[in-house]
């Protein structure tokens, strides 16, 4: 029998293939945990009355992974009982209704993983160098998260 304490792990992946909720949740499942909390960010088909054809994501990949690792480190400081964290973000073209990001966190009891998942997505939107472009019928537009920590809200 393996004497495996199930050492806490972070699973971070940026990839252009379709994301899998099953895959991401299975990464964080642990016999020591009674809860797995999940967030799935999906692409909407409309913005301010315009029809969105699809989204395109790009990233400063190496720095994005580093920033996501920092988020995981912060999660573990704030919620020490959190066991595993998985953050998968899709890059390139993402068709409507498909997932652009999946975040899964496991913890012994549910409160910590629920709070940690919310913290992860909120902080990702504020600090991870990933960009989304919405492609409409006639034009396209680089989006800007309101959470972006340096963004000037006055235009």
């Amino acid at each position: 029998m393996e004497e495996n304490e199930d050492v806490p792990k972070d699973f971070i992946k940026l990839k252009s293939e379709k994301l899998s909720v099953d895959e991401v949740s299975e990464l964080v499942v642990s016999p020591y945990c009674g809860a797995v909390s999940l967030f799935i960010g999906t692409t909407r088909n409309n913005f301010e009355g315009k029809k969105v054809i699809h989204l395109e994501y790009e990233a400063y990949t190496s720095m994005a992974e580093t920033e996501i690792k920092k988020i995981c480190r912060d999660v573990r400081q704030k919620w020490p009982s959190v066991k595993h964290i998985a953050v998968h973000h899709r890059l390139g073209v993402v068709p409507i209704t498909e997932a652009s990001v999946i975040i899964a966190v496991s913890s012994p009891h549910r409160a910590e993983s629920l709070e940690a998942v919310m913290y992860c997505i909120n902080t990702l939107k504020a600090s991870v160098p990933i960009w989304k472009k919405e492609i409409y019928e006639d034009e396209c537009s680089w989006k800007e998260n309101k959470e972006c920590f340096w963004a000037n809200s006055e235009k």
């Binding site: 960010g41 395109e56 994501y57 790009e58 990233a59 400063y60 190496s62 720095m63 994005a64 580093t66 973000h89 890059l91 390139g92 652009s100 990001v101 997505i121 990702l124 939107k125 504020a126 600090s127 991870v128 160098p129 990933i130 960009w131 989304k132 472009k133 680089w142 989006k143 800007e144 998260n145 972006c148 340096w150 963004a151 000037n152």
Partner: protein, 110 residues
């Protein structure tokens, strides 16, 4: 249309040690462009010679000399120098040869 995957870095033809100027020392840094800044600059990556010691705002101005179209996004961008965010302003940067300097427009991940 810029391909998001291929990032061939434009750089000087010949690599060699640059002789010290009588004045300010310069070094070659890799400048990375993303999102709107890549569209405005027309490329994703290049090597530029910049002063080794320079404020972040001066560094922006050096880059805008090369790519004047970037001026329109000045109020929206920050830098990432060696993968740490730096606001455009008085912060003094001490650059090393080969450092990565990225132009970071407002992010929209998630």
């Amino acid at each position: 249309r810029l391909s998001p995957r291929r990032r061939r870095c434009r750089g000087p033809a010949a690599e060699g040690s640059s002789p010290r100027d009588g004045g300010s020392m310069r070094c070659q840094v890799s400048v990375l462009y993303f999102a709107r800044s890549a569209e405005l600059a027309g490329l994703r990556c290049e090597t530029l010679s910049v002063p080794r010691e320079i404020t972040s705002l001066q560094l922006w101005e050096e880059i805008v000399k090369v790519h004047p179209r970037l001026a329109v996004i000045r109020d929206q961008v920050v830098f990432a120098v060696r993968q740490e965010y730096v606001l455009l302003g008085d912060q003094l940067l001490v650059l090393q040869p080969g450092d990565e300097v990225a132009i970071i427009p407002p992010i929209s991940g998630g």
